[in-house]
């Protein structure tokens, strides 16, 4: 029963002011899209956002690096929010993630479409991979060059999920606020 409760625990994200540019070189920013944990609380593949965030943060923290979460309201493009997250990060490294689960690791001096690591097939990213993504982001933040997290490839992900992903995205567009600045998010689990 205790285990069931643990799995069902809820992620609570609370706005804590406009996100500022970080000064600590040992931090990684996790940039989340506007509907993350709000429009839906799980990825397309049914991985709960609470567990996604917990695993990524654990991956970052086990390397002795701090995680910050910033929500972007004015743009849903993963390359853009990932890069802007990286620019807000004191280390210059950011992770970007959309509601549907598509994830990347970005670095402040790159262009939106050229990232450090990209996991384009959202339905294939499991919790172990989310943790590994957090760990690698932390290693980049420390100036190391880790082996990239193995990219999963399932040719049947698109047939199953792409149209659904587009529907989710269109719905998430309804949450966009083009005038709102990125906000620092406080994380708690209930």
């Amino acid at each position: 029963m205790a285990q069931a409760t643990q799995q069902e625990r809820k992620l609570v994200l609370t706005e804590a002011g406009v996100a500022e540019e970080g000064t600590k070189s040992d931090e990684v920013v996790i940039a989340i899209s506007v509907g993350f944990n709000d429009m839906k609380d799980e990825t397309l593949a049914g991985v709960r956002h609470a567990n996604v965030i917990r695993e990524m943060m654990a991956g970052i923290e086990e390397e002795g690096v701090t995680a910050r979460i910033v929500r972007f309201y004015d743009n849903l493009d993963l390359g853009v929010i990932g890069l802007r997250g990286a620019k807000l990060s004191g280390s210059g490294i950011g992770i970007g993630i959309q509601t549907r689960g598509t994830t990347l690791i970005h670095q402040e001096d790159l262009v939106p479409l050229s990232n450090l690591e990209l996991f384009p097939q959202a339905p294939l990213i499991d919790l172990e991979t989310f943790r590994a993504i957090g760990k690698n982001a932390a290693l980049y933040a420390k100036g190391e060059t880790p082996e990239p997290v193995p990219v999963a490839n399932d040719p049947m992900a698109r047939p199953t999920y792409q149209a659904l992903a587009a529907l989710w995205h269109i719905k998430e567009m309804g949450y966009k606020d083009k005038d709102k600045e990125p906000m620092e998010m406080e994380v708690s689990f209930e």
């Binding site: 849903l76 060059t145 990239p148 399932d154 698109r158 792409q162 992903a165 587009a166 995205h169 269109i170």
Partner: protein, 575 residues
């Protein structure tokens, strides 16, 4: 059924969950592969509709003093930047009013009328607005689209493009697979990567592999646009395709782009004598949630005309990476064929999709490619996965290496040129060996992480990356960075190959580099014939002259004899 017939639980145990009794037929149908596909009902308000959205504009045009001042229901001051670009650069203004006055049904009939030659159609179709082109093609059914494509594609000889990728970005495997793909008859090979920073090395591996066969197979590496251009300029690739254009302003802006910035990028390729085409395809605007309620077909037609306006010679479309969006709604497969046709009507080369998975069903994926296959296009697949789909880093193609024999048989069955040919195992192994040994030498000379003899052996006989030994991606990335920092070019690679006894590959690779100076292969729909002579076939010297039976491209003579020789046919003389 009366109440008496109901099963009443006795209350002694848990309440029985009674689900309605299922038809065994439906239970069996529920297990079919097609039920795993994503299907969506139309939602026209946001543009979730393949063709004929109620929000698509009606065709109209006004020309004043040689300038389009009104188009498709909007005055010039209401144009978004795509309208403006199309009105100013894509439409033949001199003929616009004449073309727009033609009855759309009549023009649709002309498209399928073998007595109306292609040139006559193109003269008018290149003077039509997006809404007019859509209005015309909406009158065609799928069989008529096939007929129209047969006449309208620019180059007479159909061709094919393939993907050569590895989920591990394994360079030895990529070189060997590129060599095999060249032998199998593809005119173009396309690579992309799992890890972006690997691109310089995988591009190099593919280039060496592709040149070890018949000479003149051109290669590209689909990555971020600036990197892609640089790899081309360095001579690591021979053409480019992944320069994307979109049908709404918002999607363009999200990519920090405009039609003008895309035109600027295109000129970067043209100035270096590099072949390039754009990429678009139904569903991309919807994928970004920015389709403005317009049909996928209307938005894609705008993409075709942006391409035309940029002066680019060709376009890859037919759904492409968003293919599972159009195919989720009614008439989606028809729509992707229709967008190929509009590209041809704009007098552009078309690489016609069939390049990304959209279904679990073998029947659906085969039906989807029939229009392009039967009509013939410049590149029927863009591309066909020359590796197993588990290694296909475009997330899988509609046909892959496991379909090689079936695809050859289909060409033999229907006497259709599909752009691949039967090959024998011995020759394939020979090609693969030469490719990977050449790559081994190049890596050694450049001081890159060695390709071991064990890797060479594995790559020769491999089916996919699962058959390859482990290799450090981190070390390869370092080498890739070195390669870019040190300014290593295609010419350096040619010199290394020549010095180390790989004269044939060196000559072919040099041939590609020299062709960029000659520039013939940047004409519309160009391919090298692949005989090592670097003779170009294009819309200029091989124009499509199809006008019904007895004309156009026919699969006859030597090419047909070659198609007949599938591996497992029994020779009557042997019995």
């Amino acid at each position: 059924m009366s109440d008496d017939d109901k099963h009443i639980a006795d209350g002694g145990g848990e309440v029985e969950e009674t689900s309605p009794k299922r038809s065994k037929r439906f239970e069996a149908l529920d297990k079919r592969e097609v039920t795993k596909d994503g299907f969506v009902n139309e939602w026209p308000e946001v543009g979730f509709v393949a063709m004929e959205s109620p929000n698509d504009p009606d065709p109209s045009v006004t020309v004043e003093d040689g300038e389009i001042t009104h188009m498709d229901g909007k005055d010039r001051d209401e144009f978004d930047f795509i309208d403006r670009f199309i009105a100013d650069y894509a439409i033949n203004v001199d003929k616009a009013e004449e073309a727009m006055e033609i009855d759309s049904v009549q023009f649709a009939r002309d498209l399928v009328d073998i007595n109306v030659p292609r040139e006559e159609i193109v003269e008018l179709s290149t003077a039509m607005t997006p809404a007019k082109l859509v209005d015309v093609v909406n009158h065609l059914d799928t069989a008529e689209i096939i007929m129209a494509m047969k006449k309208m594609r620019t180059r007479q000889t159909p061709g094919n493009q393939c993907h050569v990728t590895s989920v591990e970005d394994n360079v030895a495997q990529i070189a060997a697979d590129a060599a095999e793909a060249a032998l199998r008859g593809f005119y173009e090979a396309e690579n992309t990567v799992g890890v972006a920073r690997m691109a310089p090395l995988t591009a190099l591996a593919q280039q060496i592999g592709a040149q070890c066969g018949r000479g003149g197979v051109i290669t590209q590496c689909a990555v971020e646009e600036a990197t892609e251009l640089e790899l081309g300029m360095r001579g690591m690739t021979g053409y480019a395709e992944t320069v994307s254009v979109y049908g709404t302003e918002d999607v363009f802006k999200d990519g920090d782009d405009t039609p003008w910035s895309k035109a600027f990028l295109a000129s970067g390729y043209a100035s270096r004598g590099l072949k390039m085409r754009y990429t678009s395809g139904a569903g991309s605007e919807l994928n970004m949630g920015q389709a403005e309620g317009k049909s996928m077909f209307y938005l894609e037609t705008r993409c075709v005309l942006v391409t035309k306006g940029c002066g680019v010679q060709g376009l890859q479309n037919g759904g492409i990476s968003c293919i599972a969006i159009p195919t989720s709604v009614p008439a989606g497969v028809k729509e992707v064929a229709a967008e190929n046709l509009v590209t041809m009507m704009a007098d552009l080369e078309v690489a016609s999709g069939n390049d990304q998975t959209f279904t679990h069903s073998d029947k659906r994926r085969t039906a989807r490619m029939m229009p392009q296959f039967l009509a013939g296009t410049d590149f029927i697949f863009s591309g066909y996965s020359a590796v197993p789909n588990y290694d296909n880093m475009f997330a899988g193609s509609t046909f892959d290496s496991y379909d090689f024999d079936e695809y050859n048989v289909m060409q033999r069955d229907l006497q259709v040129e599909g752009g691949t040919k039967p090959v024998d195992e011995e020759t394939v192994l020979e090609y693969r060996e030469r490719a990977v040994k050449a790559l081994q030498v190049v890596f050694e000379e450049l001081g890159f992480p060695p390709i071991t003899d064990e890797e060479v052996e594995a790559a020769i006989y491999a089916d996919g990356s699962k058959d390859m030994p482990e290799r450090s991606t981190a070390d390869d990335i370092q080498a890739a960075e070195e390669m870019m920092d040190e300014g290593i070019t295609g010419a350096d690679v040619v010199a290394i190959l020549a010095k180390n006894g790989f004269k044939g590959i060196a000559e072919n690779m040099l041939g590609i580099l020299k062709s960029r100076v000659a520039g013939d292969y940047i004409q519309t729909s160009s391919i090298f014939q692949g005989d090592g002579e670097f003779d170009v076939l294009s819309a200029v010297n091989d124009p499509n002259e199809y006008q019904g039976p007895g004309t156009g491209h026919r699969l006859t003579g030597e090419d047909w004899e070659e198609k007949k020789k599938i591996r497992f046919a029994v020779d009557p003389e042997d019995i």
